[in-house]
């Protein structure tokens, strides 16, 4: 069974939308804002603490396809990211515990704008499916060009005390050819 199939088999059934402003909705938005703050301020170990040990973290490729073949515009074989908890923690270790993670040293200045948040109940009382838009700006060195990464996050959050843990994240990017030289940053 491929990794993509495993993810599909372990996914909960998506239920009803949770209204904007509901208590759970607000807590989810708070989690996403806090997460954006941790990543933008490069508090990567604190961000790592919000990840569930069964995390699956993927960023599919995109292809330009005709209107009639839009399902094929998302590629889940080769992807830009295909990680689990262990490998994400390895990436965090590289970025925080070495003095040679040059792709982010000096670090990029980033802003993660998270919006259009929709929260759905699932058939598991403690897990919520969350769809949101991500607009990430990335500035490196004294380069005048600002890299822009835009996409849709499809997350699964699990209740953890007062907060949540990220169980699943798939980021559907908008560019078929990325305009940034690498994804040394988390989306």
């Amino acid at each position: 069974m491929s990794a993509a199939q495993q993810v599909a088999e372990n996914a909960p059934v998506i239920g009803n939308p949770i209204p904007v402003g509901a208590e759970v909705y607000n807590r989810v938005v708070g989690f996403l804002y806090q997460e954006a703050t941790l990543l933008d301020t490069i508090r990567l170990k604190e961000w790592g603490a919000t990840l569930a040990p069964d995390l699956v973290y993927t960023v599919p490729l995109r292809q330009t396809r005709p209107m009639s073949q839009q399902a094929q515009s998302v590629i889940r074989t080769v992807q830009h990211y295909h990680d689990n908890y262990r490998s994400i923690m390895g990436r965090i270790m590289r970025l925080t515990e070495t003095r040679s993670a040059w792709a982010e040293d000096p670090p990029s200045r980033t802003r993660r704008m998270v919006s259009n948040v929709q929260v759905f109940a699932t058939d598991r009382p403690d897990e919520f499916a969350v769809v949101s838009y991500l607009l990430l700006t990335r500035s490196r060195f004294d380069f005048p060009d600002m890299d822009v990464i835009s996409g849709e996050r499809n997350d699964l959050l699990r209740v953890d005390g007062e907060g949540f843990k990220l169980v699943r994240r798939e980021v559907i990017l908008d560019q078929a050819v990325l305009g940034t030289p690498n994804l040394a940053i988390f989306l």
Binding site: S2, A3, V59, L61, Q63, T64, R65, P66, Q69, I75, T77, V78, Q79, H80, Y81, H82, D83, S87, G90, R91, M93, R94, E97, T98, R99, S100, A101, W102, A103, R140, F141, F143, D145, A176, V177, L178, G179, T180, P181, N182, L183, A184
Partner: protein
Amino acid sequence: MLTKASYTLADGTPLSDLVRVPTREVQMRALSDPEIYQLEMDRVFGKTWLLLGHESEVPNSGDFVVRDMGSDSVIVARAKDGNIHVSLNVCPHRGMRISTVDAGNTQIHKCIYHGWAFKPSGEFIGAPVEKECMHGKMMPKEELGLPQARVTLYGGIIFATWDLEGPSFEEFLGDAKWYFDTLFERSDKGLEVLGPPQRFIVRANWKAAGEQSAADGYHTLTLHRWLGEVGNYSKSGDGGSADLSPEMYGVEVSSPHGHALRCIDLGRKIKKLSGLDPAELTVDQKLEALPPPGMTREMLPQLRKHLSEEQLEVMVSMPPQVGGIFPNVLFAFVYIPQADGSVLGLTLLHAYVPKGPDQLEFVNWVLAEKDAPQELKDRMLMQSIQLFGTSGMVEQDDSDTWPHMTLAAKGARGRRSTLKYQAVYETGAPAGWPGPGIVNEGFTKDDTQWHWWLYWNELMNAKA
């Protein structure tokens, strides 16, 4: 033999002055000058064989992908006769791009502007309103097809060139083919892609990546130091030392056509895996201890059907692990140490497609043996993504470096600085080395990259 012709750049500098042969230096303006870039599009990318993909990307009649040959978009399509054709993606009518998508399947490539239609082979089918003969009466239909590049398949990898009369792909590889065959022509069914390639833009001249692919082993020590600090090599070798330099010894093969292979000593890995001195093991025992990247032990009998005993000797002692095919291809057939003490082999190809003097598109294909079990392909894919390409922890450092070289090459003084390739091998091939080519043994040196530049220089200064 190519003959030299003098060409003078706009500021009066002879083109032949960029590469200074006696001192092994290259003027940095080569990494940013738009005039040099324009010449390269004809003299390098118009003359050499270029990597476009793998035939497993277009398995069925009508399948196509859109790729680049230098600065030109091309349609790579499988026609009804089963052959792969590479057609210029420009409508001969009014110059519209014929295919505006990345991939698909069709027997009719129809231009959306005026509707001229072409077969996957590039042949002109016709134009709308046949009775009015809208393609005119001045040129026969046979002359209105899409310009065809010359195509070859090597281990299923699609290469094409606009140089219709030039050397064959085999001649282009030359002596280096003996080594490349150990990677691409070693098994019954060959390699396949595990999906479409990753693609991303790096604001750097294509040669910053291209010359590195010609087997720059030295940069690994500093740029990829993390591998020894916390990465896959941190627990191998001598007690978690961050020193990667033992991995830098081996044999380097270079080519008068700019191809390069770094053949890295496998002895320590085999010793660790088998517990035995590699010097006392047979070729078969070494293959059994550590099969080539992407192959299983069950597949090993296939090797002898395709390769010579001499090639197998190289594969089990100093296999080619990274290197390049001139001008803009990198291969990585690497043995990655795993946390559990095992080794996972990865097989990748990159193309660094020029997108202007200070921009390249990084195209990364992840490959596997067709015959390999799905479970192995899945592990190879995941590890490839984590170490190479877009988010790869190794190559993200490379793609962050090349833009600085390109910017530096724009400075009024910086453009006159030189890239230096003065660490010269003094060893030659190891005793009894069975392979051909320009071969040197020892710690990685600059020769392979220097030979890359010499071929670039030869092409740039050749008479058109």
